[in-house]
Symmetry: D2
Subunit: 365 residues, 4 copies
């Protein structure tokens, strides 16, 4: 094994390029993974565009599928050569935050690194790959807290079948889990990109029986039906809030899931809710949000608003891969394109411009 | 018994006056209560000022303590002459909303009355006294759905001891119950008016061990200590967000309760939270709200925002009066003034201008 | 309309017969329903055999599908001639128990009737049809607390499609709801009679991805696969506990649902659980139960045991019928036989002896 | 520092003696703690008597208060010389069980050690000190998974003030937390030994307003009032079940906490419950348990039975010490005696025979 590897690194706004970097050393609680498949996320595009700042030279990407190359001395119960994934968020489960129930929100890493200048930043400190440490768009990646985060891939599942688990499926499902869904609920899912599609699938798995998928893209609405939507609304062709009120006999939806990150979808999600309903928000917003007074019933509507960062950890990954293995859900339709790591710049270009019906791109070193 | 009674009725913006009205007839599921004590709420002042619209001629007030004068033919298990209270919100527990877990949000009454022009209004339809039907600032009040809403006063408790139960205590406690408090939590309560003081007391009862009460009024902060606050912050003398961060070692509060209804307190409540924390909102807002992006961690902070309308029903009232009877909490300090019903205009004047350290005024017909 | 009707009444142990009875009067909060379809429950067989005592002369049955014949004067929002169902349990939602979260457990009815001699009996006091008041195996039935309990049948659903909603589906689903199921769980369902089959279907709807159905009857195990079981275990052919441990890699099941009511299934349900797992018990037991020390980890296993009585009320029925209407679940396979009310004695005979692959029998007056 | 230390080791049933042992080596994720105070638990007496089997030569004890002597190379954020505690249960928070919500139930340690012969044993595998590895009744103890388990003692708290946190307070509070307590609840706590007393205190902190403490020892009942009991029942002088029914007007208690581990207290805890109530069980039982059919309402009472093993981890310990620091609770009354480590055999003798009003004994090396 050579001591060098290829990696897609952030150079400057507008530039992510393949570079040679040393293969990292393995500490006692780490594992080195040889990447066999990874993918590009919307967040990576924000990094590319310079909208989300990371250190120049950092390897990008946070969705690893691969093979254990080397285990740290204190990591047990795994074998080198084993196929594994790890979550996009690799929490430190020894942290106060994790023991307090929000593993993805551990700020101790940032504080230790002296990078925590403000309260807001700490909130997402559980996200390390391609943000605080080198990421997965490379030949190798170092997984921290490996004992907590390495999840063996069940026999019989391909790389592509589990490629959505580290981020897209975990985030989308969390959106459904945060929506307080009960059997028989009506749930509206705003936006049917990869995460919204997984939220739709999650709502179906949790017993919602009227799932209304909203998007402006007819192709994505078609896929949302495969994922479990009962009704699709194209917001370019109807007034979504009015339509939901009609569909529910004026009662409003039990829950709404926001999977885009805009003021308009956030406000609409609140407007379709019944009094007592839940807004589960997944979007990454880029400016202050406005809560409309009427939809909020002036604060008297017994509404709930829940937000979330993608859950990680080996138990979460085990469950998600179990869902795939059970045959309950096939996310194959989400992987629309394939590229070699060497061609990742072209892949970014396709993905950033949403050409050719792209949903997710499998990247192979 | 005469067929007429005195009542404080809304005439026009700026005018609430004592008028003569017929004592209402009692339907099969109603009860007629002779009021012995009631009080004025901040909402009543909004009505007085014309900020919240009600029908001219409506009797105002929603906090009844009294004696059963007459029971409907289908109401059983009570006796005429029995001392009772009823919640400010008298839900129809037979409604879909109540069976769905949000009794205060039943919209069927409004829909039946043909008064439900918009989605937002339905949200508070559980509030009937002094809003949709004649209220409690009168010699008599008709309690609808009496079987569900009449709550006998335990022996040994005075009118004043239970006067906060119908609204102030039920709402304030709900603020604490909605805050997901666990033993050992740090909870910040914004505003220490009557409801905020009860939220402080509720947080104490639920096991919070660092309760930080915030207000600009030193007298109210003093009372907050009697209600269970460990630390008081006068926002005229410090930066509250900064101070909470200092007190929690940079960790943030586990929960914050908003008990005023302004943009500033709402935003501050979000800013003091730890990632994963809960904002329990009680305030009645009068315009759209802004969620600051940073405090919201761009939507990635695992935050929860919960709102509530005052819970009602005889079981709720039974529990609240049980808390008073147990001696765990003495809300005597909240009743600062006494007026006869005939002098209610003067009482409104005192209360609306918050003169003389007023918190709540006992009104006696 | 004649003033008399036919009804299946309990005469003495071993004798349920068709008799003539007066059609009941309708009080202000009642509704008179003309039965179009009803069915026989296992509990009815216990009554027939004298194992569960009811008053001689009582009409039996608690699963009504029919048409509103007459509404009480205080009941609104319904129309005579409307097709409706009501739950097997028709709770008094005005009661303390209902407002306390356990509507099915209201004891006030029994206490009022002076029939509540002991603590244990109060527990099931929410069950009135065919237990405390005349039941549904008749031409007409009087529904108490009609405002809370009448649930209109959605257009396009037949009597048979909703016949399981009042009891079998509500109870079976509650078994799944009580099992704390999360996406990806392994759930074992003990016994695949009608209620167990619905528990299997409920577990599937709530996101369990490995559902193991247990029974000794190969035909019922076959139907359990239609209801959503992934794996079936015939206890006459294998050691169920051992098999579950093998299937879960020694980890144990996340949850187990007991749907029979015997010591053996109860103990097995505990034995298959992981530490921290939940036993959801639906069975009606007929003697003291033993908790095996080892399976209970001497009390240190973070286990949960939850029991339930069938939930009722119009919102519950609305949701269950919504599940059927959504096409998520087809319970058609559960109605295996049809009889006229006049032939109900033959139907009891078939059902009590479980002849001819019977699951449920539709009875039509 | 010498390489040898004194430790109380299990020799054979009936014999725990002070022996010399090597001070253990410190691995990368360990910490070596110099014990300043520890104590004896009822479980230790079971070990002494041979009722609970441990390996001969094992150091006993699981309640550590001490000073960090040496940190493993991978442990950060602590300093040698710092005063700390660790939970009686030191979970591996990297395990599947911990990520699944039951940190105390991790069986991976036992499986790794090849000691897991049966399902039941795995359940308590989170308990390591004095069970699977050397314990705390020694001059030094090695804390595994130190990053997750070391909890700094707040300034100003003495060893004795935090001595109950590792086990007694964490277990007792968990009993209250598992009881689904809401404000205004009636809670019955069976047995007022150290853990029952902490359950009483926990029920008070969570808002129960009628706390009924049960024991046969008048002295302990006296202390239960200091811990928050409103009413005490001496079972040698009354029928507890009958008395609770009288006190609740026939309604039954909302919750009951079993803190002894006998058939009689378990059955009584079920018998005092209302339909829908919760039995929170803390006891370590020594034989199969019987559930009485009547109290269990034949399985139809909407009852919940929850069990628990003591929660651990630094966040739990931080919260518990925070409760002490807040002044909400003073557990000083529970430490009744003091002994040097050298005299621990006499301490065991006193404790095992419950002489001299002993509750807990502080042991100092």
């Amino acid at each position: 094994m050579s001591s060098m590897m290829k990696a897609a690194v952030f150079i400057a706004p507008g530039r992510i390029e393949i570079a040679e970097k040393p293969i990292p050393d393995v500490g006692p609680n780490d594992a080195l993974i040889r990447i066999t498949t990874t993918t590009i996320c919307g967040t990576d595009v924000h990094i590319l565009k310079g909208e989300y700042p990371v250190a120049p030279g950092l390897t990008i990407g946070h969705e690893p599928v691969g093979i254990i190359e080397k285990l740290g001395s204190a990591v047990s119960g795994y074998q080198e050569g084993q196929r594994v994934i790890a979550g996009a968020i690799c929490p430190n489960f020894n942290s106060y935050a994790a023991q307090d129930g929000v593993a993805s929100q551990d700020g101790s890493y940032l504080i230790a690194a002296g990078r925590c200048g403000c309260h807001g930043y700490k909130a997402t400190a559980g996200w390390r790959f391609g943000n605080l440490i080198d990421g997965t768009q490379a030949e190798y990646v170092l997984v921290p807290d490996a004992q907590a985060n390495l999840a063996p891939i069940p026999d019989g599942l391909t790389d592509e079948q589990v490629l959505m688990c580290p981020d897209i499926m975990s985030t989308g499902f969390k959106g459904a889990e945060n929506a307080n869904i009960r059997i028989g609920d009506t749930v509206v899912v705003f936006a049917q990109g990869p995460i919204g599609l997984c939220a739709t699938a999650g709502a179906r798995l949790l017993g919602a029986t009227t799932i209304i998928a909203v998007d402006g893209n007819a192709h994505r609405l078609g896929i949302s039906r495969q994922m479990g939507a009962d009704i699709t609304l194209n917001f370019t062709q109807c007034d979504v809030v009015e339509e939901v009120m009609k569909l529910t006999g004026g009662r409003g939806a039990d829950a709404a899931i926001e999977a885009l990150g805009t003021q308009h979808t956030f406000a609409s999600a609140l407007q379709v809710l019944k009094p007592g309903g839940t807004l589960s928000s997944l979007g990454v917003y880029s400016s202050d949000l406005t809560i409309p007074l009427g939809a909020f019933a002036a604060g008297l509507g017994d509404h709930k608003i829940n937000t979330a960062l993608c859950p990680g950890g080996k138990e979460r990954m085990r469950r998600l891969m179990g869902v795939i293995a059970s045959g309950r859900l096939d996310l194959g339709a989400l992987v629309t394109h394939h590229y070699a790591l060497d061609d990742i710049e072209a892949a970014y270009d396709l993905f950033a411009h949403q050409r050719d019906g792209v949903l997710k791109i499998a990247i192979r070193p």
